[in-house]
Symmetry: D2
């Protein structure tokens, strides 16, 4: 009811405040007897963590995780899996200046109005540090999906006005992790990095777009009429901090096509049926059709700037504010594993849901 | 679990197949002792119904509704409200030709794979006729919202390549219903209608964009971290047939702004706090901040064409298909009340959720 | 949230007021492609219906049901199944005398306090007529269970002070339906009937106990720690009108045994493991162990009497009240199919839940 | 779906295995800005803990709790509250003898069949150590209930054949905690203690009954038709380890009363309405009526004995088994705070649910 739990069969419950003791997650509904891939969890946490390159924040905590339940002798028990990551690098004094002002385009004001108090320590639950819980749960979801060979690959397709205009089918997505910006095309990646470095030097911030590709998704995932697969993916993406938009398949661009241009024709692909084009983005009527699922996620420029801004404090008095902490100038490279994690969680949940009605 | 129920406190459960006996809905969690506005339900159903103008399908059923529980002496009882709309204009023979082929970009294939059978009668639950349930539930949601003066106004902002490029703040939204295309600006509306008429004459179809504005939303609706208000709005919109994308506030366009341009500065608005600009779209950190909420919903061109198309049948043999039934060339004018209804349902649900923790 | 839906995967949503238009139910999560056994539904409704014998109320409506969605060509579609039973025998004038008084031990007072109004027409949703929805949903649940040969048989084991003291294992449960009191042992049945007839003549009412036996339940149904199989059965039974208690296996009587007498010893039963005794009632640690599940459900004497009683009206003034409508003197014979239905619903739900994690 | 979460608005998610690292709980939906009563949590954990007297197991861990999220500066934030208790006294070797046998009337067999593996370390999630999570969540629930002056008092009313036959209204419930058996009547308490000591000396075990009284419950808690207040209380109690039965108000004994004896007559109690008798147990039609709520919970004799028993191992070979660990001969004194905790959780959840529809 309070929005801290996601999923229907494979569920995660996220807890912990940004500058409290821990960020934690309870993952429930995971398959029992599954080998736990600790390297995968570690690797995804590292891909998310601050300080991984010179274009991300320098807040350098290592994000070591501890599994405190649900795993025994290296395997899942089928009981709830709780995982903790300690908040080692707490410096509450960094935030004392924020104690009674409202940062522009932050959630300080709405949280205070909703809950009747301030957790001024770095934003509490509004902080993107909460996404650690998602990345960990996403790793367990990926372990389930790897059993049926579903692969999820996300990459940065736009930063500010620099757009990678090559369709994903013509990209080598294995190059994504070789670039600190997580764009698989080196020339575009270089331009993106330069743009971020410029913004950083100016104390400003940039937004971007992440594109995500899922292949190997079996036919039949997604539940009409409200839990359409793309509706649940959309909600998952929109729940990530700083996300402003989601579209899948032909997306917003579909509007510029006529029906006769947009329809995906059924053809034989070997022994199986498939579609010649894939404007549907692998989903028809809310149910996966066996083609690649692909979608875009738009991130706004982060609100925290190293530039002095005008705002109000709790007494509605004008004050100046300039962030002194360590912050990203552009979140999209670090958001790639978060997008993948939320995607994996939605697909794992719908996969487990589909098992009930398996023919 | 099967996706036929939406909402957490204010919930609707949709049932009925397109060419079965009825489309029905059970609305639960509505406030008791509320006067039921029958005219509102009737009006919204009429705005959704086919045959309302010469740019929509000519399928002419009247969509008369019957409330069969939950209302007594004109008021809600607090018990579940069940409402039925009979499917009067059933002509199953219209669909016999579809019995064993897969219409391109339709859900015939995915439904058959998922459920192991075909309900070939006009698409069963994949048909947009299901949205009757949403419009009825939306009317009850609007009755709740009218108690706290929330207003929801949607309009068509794009059809194919004709885009209304005026911000909503400079439009007279009371003009929307005066145009059969539901675009509040008469010149753009005329161009949109001409484009649809041309596509109709060609047997083709067009997509479009609906923009929705909510004003009067109190501060504090939305539940971090997964049930952010815009995440639930996004899911609601993406669950509507033919929707391919959703963005709110500055949306995808936010990527082209720097943080220093994009941040909304807090200012005093009379005795209250507000923001000078509203790139946030009325939502910060997933919680409404008292400014207008606005968002865009992209609809693909409908898949059913009056043009002959190649496809496959159940034996994977190539067949030709040309729709002979009555179909819209562009769904957006009829989708306006559906977008409003789903918006009202999300806001009513979050409003009731907020009452638990009301200070 | 408002308690009108039961179950997690196999769910029913009940709607309709006692003297409104209909009693209805939406059954969701049922398996697709299942043959619908109309005779089973009809038979269970007849076993529940008033006027079936001279020891039940003479209210004689036939309870004809209509399936309005989810079934096509005799099979379940996998979409929500909505079923209606019209309230033909409405005589609202019968209830005018109740309009402003509170019947003793009825829910008139608590409903009015909770909802802020009176639906005086026969009690609205507090009426046992609501259980029609359960019996219909139970019939669909039984269709699922019959696929895996689970059988559920309930019978009356006590009326007032007449108790059937023979263990179920020594009874011929096929005799149950041959007696209007639904007690499988003829001599006890005759005593029970005589007691009810005496109470009826006096305008008084009697309570009783129903015992329910489930055999063929596979090992592994039930979810620790909160959704233990017996906990969900208990909730299901306690949600039936007039139920005051539930115990399973050795139940309350277990307290009078020492551990050494009570423990069920594991033994080989052919190729399988089983237990020598079954004090556990077929459930250990909340999970079915393959032995028979059995439990007792206590029903209080019904509150409506043909004897004049003192009570208060809405102005807190003393008034006299004597029921003039048609009411049962003892509900247990008609409650037998309701107990079976709720049992089937719990078992079907847990069976479907178990399919997710099936080895 | 996997049964580790309880409640709809006030929810707890329990995690941790008996001999793993921790027992933990996430409490969500708690009111924000509530002072956290650490002494209450500590006291209730001490009332539950083993080794508190010579009639309970001597396993002596202190059960120190740590709140790791959701509380800041002594108050609840409105975010999820996670609390851990470390399992300090792990001695896995104690359990090595159990590794491949099935203890009689334990859940070793059903867990292994359900999950496909053994967590032989003291029973994993089937262990009563899991109830630590409930006691902690119950303490937070009590903090909410104390705001509206609801009081919950449970006591032991029967051990084996020693029954306290005095109605609760004639007992001084403040005496309960003065006795190690938690029976408020000293003479009966002495007999109960003697019986347990005798059973302990014999290596045997005894069951018992706990009676629970709630006063100050406002009118209107409970949701018809499935979430009746007593149905949710019943489920909560039946989910506690070793519970075999639940009845409320007149309970099973109601069967021996005629309707004319059993009905509760409405009378004026000062300015308010009430009932002269309270056979209804404070609940009518599933909704609290303002009178005391009272109910009984039956616990079987614990299955672990210090007597040699015959059983089977995983190869279905006969083996002898005699427990050597530290175990209670009778769980009821330690179960008193668990019954209270689960009661508080149900009442707090229904109280928060009622706030949505508050007039």
């Amino acid at each position: 009811m309070t929005g801290n739990t996601f999923g229907k069969i494979f569920t995660l419950t996220s807890f912990g405040e940004s500058h409290g003791t821990v960020i934690g997650v309870v993952i429930d509904g995971c398959l029992p007897n599954m080998l736990v891939d600790l390297e995968l969890i570690k690797n995804d946490l590292n891909r998310r963590r601050p300080g991984q390159s010179n274009i991300t924040t320098s807040r350098g905590e290592p994000d070591e995780f501890e599994i405190i339940s649900g795993v025994f002798e290296g395997k899942t028990l089928g009981t709830p899996i709780a995982v903790l990551v300690k908040n080692k690098d707490q410096k509450p004094e960094d935030y004392s200046e924020l104690k009674d002002l409202y940062r522009p385009s932050h959630a300080d004001f709405t949280y205070q109005e909703k809950y009747g108090h301030r957790d001024y320590r770095g934003g509490g639950r509004q902080s993107a540090r909460e996404t650690i819980a998602r990345v960990i749960a996403g790793a367990f979801a990926k372990m389930i999906l790897s059993q049926i060979d579903i692969q999820i690959k996300a990459y940065v397709s736009q930063v500010y006005d620099i757009k990678l205009d090559i369709p994903y089918t013509q990209l080598d997505l294995d190059q994504t992790e070789k670039s600190i910006i997580r764009c698989p095309e080196p020339k575009t990646a270089a331009l993106m990095i330069a743009a971020i470095e410029k913004a950083k030097a100016e104390g400003d911030s940039l937004g971007g777009v992440i594109t995500c590709i899922c292949n190997g998704v079996p036919i039949g995932l997604g539940e009409p009429v409200f839990d359409k697969l793309h509706a649940d993916l959309g909600k998952a993406m929109l729940s990530i901090n700083a996300v402003k938009g989601f579209d899948f398949g032909s997306g917003f661009a579909s509007v510029l096509k006529k029906g006769s241009e947009h329809n995906d024709r059924f053809i034989q692909k070997g022994a199986k049926m498939g579609t010649e084009t894939n404007h549907s983005g692998g989903i028809q009527g809310g149910i996966s059709n066996g083609e690649d699922i692909y979608f875009n996620v738009a991130f706004k420029p982060v609100a925290t700037l190293q530039i002095e801004q005008d705002t109000l404090n709790e007494s509605q008095q004008p004050v100046k504010f300039k962030a002194t902490g360590r912050h990203d100038s552009c979140v999209v490279p670090r958001a790639v594993p978060i997008v993948e994690a939320m995607t994996a969680i939605v697909l794992a949940d719908h996969y487990l849901r589909s098992l009930v009605y398996k023919k």
